[in-house]
């Protein structure tokens, strides 16, 4: 249980991604297996969020470094600044994480009977799982460029879901307007991240 809590900050983001990549394989078996798989993975994410919230309330901020030899090793030896992608979960992040995980689980359960009438196949569930991974990554990340990357994952999946029923012209027009406004906004955010980065470079020009 202790190792599960120590690794849970990255498992919350990685399990919806793994489920989104496995769904085309599982849906070849039967449709019922795909439904059970999606609901099970989102329920597991909800369970991990709740035990991580309890641990943050008792012990403080969690930091997770991707790719190091232990999860909390942000500064390796002979280095003076933190390196690698760092996830940082504090009270505000886990509060938004509880909201996101609960709403996604409810949306997935309610969409099961609705999607029986649609013809999109398993693409709806792939897009929904990518949207959940993008949302949770946006809330748990520790640096600003990762925030931009997860924001773009979120907006592309969201626009594809908004235009999902392509036989209605209103839906496609709405999805197009969403992606244009979201893309321009995210590029201006990237410009601002560049301006933030500039005074911290030691330059000898």
């Amino acid at each position: 249980m202790d190792t599960l809590v120590a690794h849970s900050a990255v498992l919350i983001i990685a399990i919806p991604l793994l489920a989104a990549f496995l769904t085309p394989l599982i849906s070849r078996a039967s449709e019922k297996a795909r439904d059970i798989f999606v609901i099970t993975s989102l329920a597991f994410v909800e369970f991990l969020v709740i035990i991580l919230a309890k641990d943050i309330y008792l012990n403080g901020i969690h930091i997770y470094t991707l790719g190091a030899s232990s999860p909390t090793l942000t500064i390796p030896e002979h280095y003076m600044v933190p390196v690698r992608i760092i996830l940082e979960v504090d009270a505000m992040s886990i509060f938004m994480g509880i909201i996101s995980a609960t709403v996604s689980l409810a949306a997935a359960i309610y969409s099961l009977s609705f999607m029986k009438r649609e013809t999109g196949g398993d693409r709806f569930y792939i897009l929904l799982l990518l949207l959940v991974a993008g949302m949770l990554g946006l809330e748990f990340t520790g640096d600003m460029f990762n925030m931009f990357v997860f924001l773009e994952i979120l907006s592309i999946s969201g626009a594809a879901l908004a235009a999902f029923r392509t036989r209605f012209a209103d839906a496609v027009e709405g999805g197009f307007k969403y992606i244009v406004i979201s893309a321009v906004g995210a590029l201006v955010i990237l410009f601002a991240v560049g301006i933030f980065y500039a005074p911290n470079i030691i330059c000898s020009t």
Binding site: A163, D170, I179, A183, V184, L187, L190
Partner: protein, 117 residues
């Protein structure tokens, strides 16, 4: 203009972003709108690479490298990620344009006002 010669890339960034914002605001044909978003993305990527320049630097590759300080490689990695994201966004926008043309027969932003907002 005051300043050294190394300010020219920043002037190019300003020109690209200004032209792109003018295209996005004023064009009616939706394909030209997508072109304007692509030019905006090119301008922002050029800005990220230009931030990493160090005076008299060489390329940051270790294979058969000559002597000297290297330019910063971290903004180059961030720019590569941003280019990939731009490709995905452009592909999605063009697919939605193909579907819009199939429904209404016209690519004009004045005609796609069915949702009134």
């Amino acid at each position: 203009m005051t300043g050294s010669i190394f300010n020219i890339p920043f002037l190019a960034v300003a020109a690209l972003i200004g032209i792109a914002l003018y295209i996005i605001i004023s064009q009616r044909n939706l394909i030209k709108l997508v072109m304007g978003i692509t030019i905006l993305e090119s301008g922002v990527n050029l800005f990220l690479i230009t931030l990493g320049y160090r005076a008299a630097g060489i390329t940051p590759i270790y294979t058969h490298a000559p002597e000297g300080v290297m330019v910063l490689p971290v903004p180059q990695a961030l720019t590569l990620t941003s280019i990939v994201i731009g490709v995905a966004t452009t592909a999605l926008m063009l697919s939605m344009l193909v579907l819009t043309y199939r429904h209404t027969g016209d690519i004009d932003s004045e005609k796609s006002r069915r949702m009134k907002g």
